[in-house]
């Protein structure tokens, strides 16, 4: 399929923006400006970008603990996101969720989630409502290789396929559940093989190639909008960082890490755009500069934002 030049450039900009946000979050965590647990999406940017670039603003996504990238592509404002990571009152969740629970329901981002695999069934519930309300909206569920071993994977995909719900399940297979390699946790190579158990399409794509991800998601989303039910897309990738910031990643093989860094999705995509003559180096540089500038502005905004009043402790428990 032919993807328009403007879309491709926007996708590249989104990936660069995620990278800039995540690198800044890494530095701020190290400087103890960001409390709690932080899980970075560095290296996996092509997946959020390739999938969400197909969505309309009114579509929904369910994310997981590594969710900054998903929200940024869904329209998240880096200022408001950074304020949330700081635990400040101007954050998306008024500082009550943090990195692990960041959400922007108005943007269709129904939350990162601290429970691995929780989104798999929640997304089916969202899909049920979208069908019940006779919309043509879809819900994307991002999850990892590790959560595909949870019971929610089975219950969510079984229900979504049985009821033909407009959900697209996107497995971000970064090959590790914290320290455990995929091979130690399942007896198959391709998680997309599991689609067969639910009578739905399953496909494995290069998760470091945003165009491959875009094309797979395009098909799956169209199928969901037609009322034909869910699909499973497995995107093979690699996280450049540890599971969480502070994880020394001693379980990774250094040669393998180096080989995957050579397959970094951002320089690969830059080369593709240059080869197509869609951009020149100057454009790429200005995209990077703009991303850095936006994220810096986000940090300034977060620094300036006040912490929540202590009275906020007991609000928002019930409506």
């Amino acid at each position: 399929m032919k993807i328009e030049k403007e879309i491709l450039i926007k996708m590249y900009s989104d990936m660069v923006r995620i990278r800039a946000f995540e690198h800044k979050a890494r530095d701020l965590f190290a400087a103890q400006k960001i409390p709690g647990f932080v899980h970075l999406y560095v290296g996996e940017e092509a997946i959020a970008t390739g999938v969400i670039s197909n969505l309309k603003p009114e579509d929904y996504i369910h994310s997981h603990h590594r969710g900054h990238g998903h929200l940024l592509v869904k329209g998240g404002d880096p200022n408001v996101m950074m304020a949330e990571l700081f635990g400040k009152t101007d954050g998306y969740c008024k500082g009550k969720g943090g990195s692990m629970h960041i959400a922007a329901v108005d943007l269709g981002m129904l939350g990162a989630n601290g429970i691995v695999g929780a989104g798999l069934t929640l997304a089916a519930g969202v899909g049920f409502a979208l069908k019940y309300l006779k919309t043509d909206k879809v819900c994307i569920c991002f999850f990892g290789d590790g959560s595909s071993n949870r019971g929610t994977f089975h219950e969510g995909l079984n229900m979504a396929s049985t009821f033909k719900l407009p959900v697209v399940y996107v497995c971000e297979n970064n090959q590790y559940g914290i320290s455990n390699r995929q091979t130690t946790a399942m007896n198959i190579t391709d998680i997309s093989d599991r689609a067969g158990a639910y009578g739905i399409p399953g496909i494995t794509v290069d998760g470091n190639d945003p165009v491959a991800v875009y094309e797979a998601a395009y098909e799956a989303i169209a199928r969901a909008r037609r009322g034909e039910g869910p699909s499973l897309i497995e995107c093979k990738t690699w996280r450049h960082r540890g599971h969480f910031e502070g994880d020394p990643s001693t379980y990774k093989n250094p040669q393998e890490q180096a080989a995957w860094l050579d397959k970094d999705p951002i320089p690969q995509f830059a080369k593709k755009l240059l080869d197509l003559k869609y951009v020149d180096q100057k454009t790429l540089d200005s995209i990077k500069a703009k991303a850095d500038q936006d994220i810096e502005a986000g940090v300034a905004f977060a620094e300036k934002s006040p912490y929540p009043e202590i009275s906020e402790l007991t609000t928002d428990v019930l409506a």
Partner: protein, 323 residues
């Protein structure tokens, strides 16, 4: 007013709201043409069809999550687990997702959903189909928990639960399904968070909820011949707890016995006792007593089960020990 059974009344609550609000639907195992294991949903499939009365796979985790996910984007689901005992299978969806989502998102999401959970012993259904687990649920901020006793409340609290913008756990005791009572016709709401003085008295307060309210009312009748005037408070709502009504009653009567069907340790009776000790100590003329099941699983064999469930005689014995 009409005479209705508890199960008819709770069904009427669902049916009236479904007729009124197209965003309300019901999902659970065997709630469709089969009509529910205890007939709770009889006739609903015929009236509303498969889109709104949804038979699900045996997937309690996904059933609860169906409610949470669907509520988060603008519908008002009622989801049913066939027995409260199955909640363990779906607990994350209730306590980490439904209960916390609004808070974690800074108040920027509404989760208007009802979780129906049939509970209780008395049928030789044994250890995995007979429990009362309201204390687990009382320990979760972010949800409301109701446990109606009368058929009128079964209807009125169902309607209130469906209209509530929070996750409401609606616990229905299986032994109450056949209970007959006067039920207001048409639109009728019984408030969540307000206890009911089921019988007025002056000497002693019996505090209970769910099926045990009936035992307390029987005990209060029996105490008349001993010249003890017992007041019976039906909590109706476990969470949020109506402290004011129980404290007012104990202030008037000076003695309190709390009756729960659930096992003793960590039960909700302990929470009530703590409230009375902290906020009503000066009103008390004697110890706060609890009548509960023992700390055992629910037994199968009929005489063992009968010994497990608190009886009127056990309530009377507790009361008399205060005099």
């Amino acid at each position: 007013m009409s005479q209705k059974t508890y199960v008819e009344a709770l069904r009427e609550g669902m049916v009236l709201e479904m007729r009124k609000d197209p965003k309300v639907f019901l999902a659970g195992e065997d709630v469709g043409p089969f009509g529910g294991c205890f007939g709770q949903t009889q006739g609903m499939f015929a009236e509303f069809g498969p889109e709104r009365v949804v038979d699900t796979p045996i997937s309690e985790t996904a059933i609860l999550a169906l409610g949470v996910g669907a509520a988060s984007v603008g519908t008002r689901p009622i989801v049913e687990l066939m027995f409260i005992d199955f909640l363990g299978v779906a607990m994350d969806e209730l306590f980490n997702q439904a209960a916390k989502m609004r808070y974690m998102f800074g108040g920027k999401v509404l989760l208007p959903m009802v979780v129906r959970l049939p509970c209780g012993a008395g049928f030789s259904a044994a250890a995995q189909h007979s429990q009362c687990m309201e204390a687990w649920l009382a320990h979760i901020p972010g949800i409301k928990v109701v446990m109606p006793y009368t058929p009128a409340d079964a209807k009125g609290m169902m309607i209130a639960a469906i209209r509530d913008n929070n996750p409401v756990v609606y616990i229905e005791h299986k032994a109450l399904y056949g209970l007959v009572g006067e039920v207001p016709d048409g639109d009728y709401v019984a408030p969540i968070g307000k206890a009911n003085v089921a019988r007025e008295g002056n000497d002693l307060t019996l505090i209970s909820w769910g099926a045990m309210v009936g035992k307390c009312l029987e005990a209060a009748d029996a105490l008349v011949k001993d010249k003890i005037s017992a007041e019976v408070v039906d909590l109706r709502t476990i969470s949020p707890l109506d402290k004011e009504t129980i404290l007012q009653s104990v202030k008037k009567c000076g003695r309190a016995v709390i009756v729960q069907e659930a096992v003793r340790t960590g039960g909700f009776a302990g929470e009530i006792a703590a409230v009375l000790a902290e906020e009503g100590f000066d009103y008390l003329n004697g110890p706060i007593l609890r009548v509960t099941a023992p700390d055992t699983p629910v037994p199968f064999s009929p005489p063992l089960e009968a010994a497990y469930i608190p009886t009127v005689d056990k309530i009377l014995a507790a009361v008399k020990s205060l005099y």
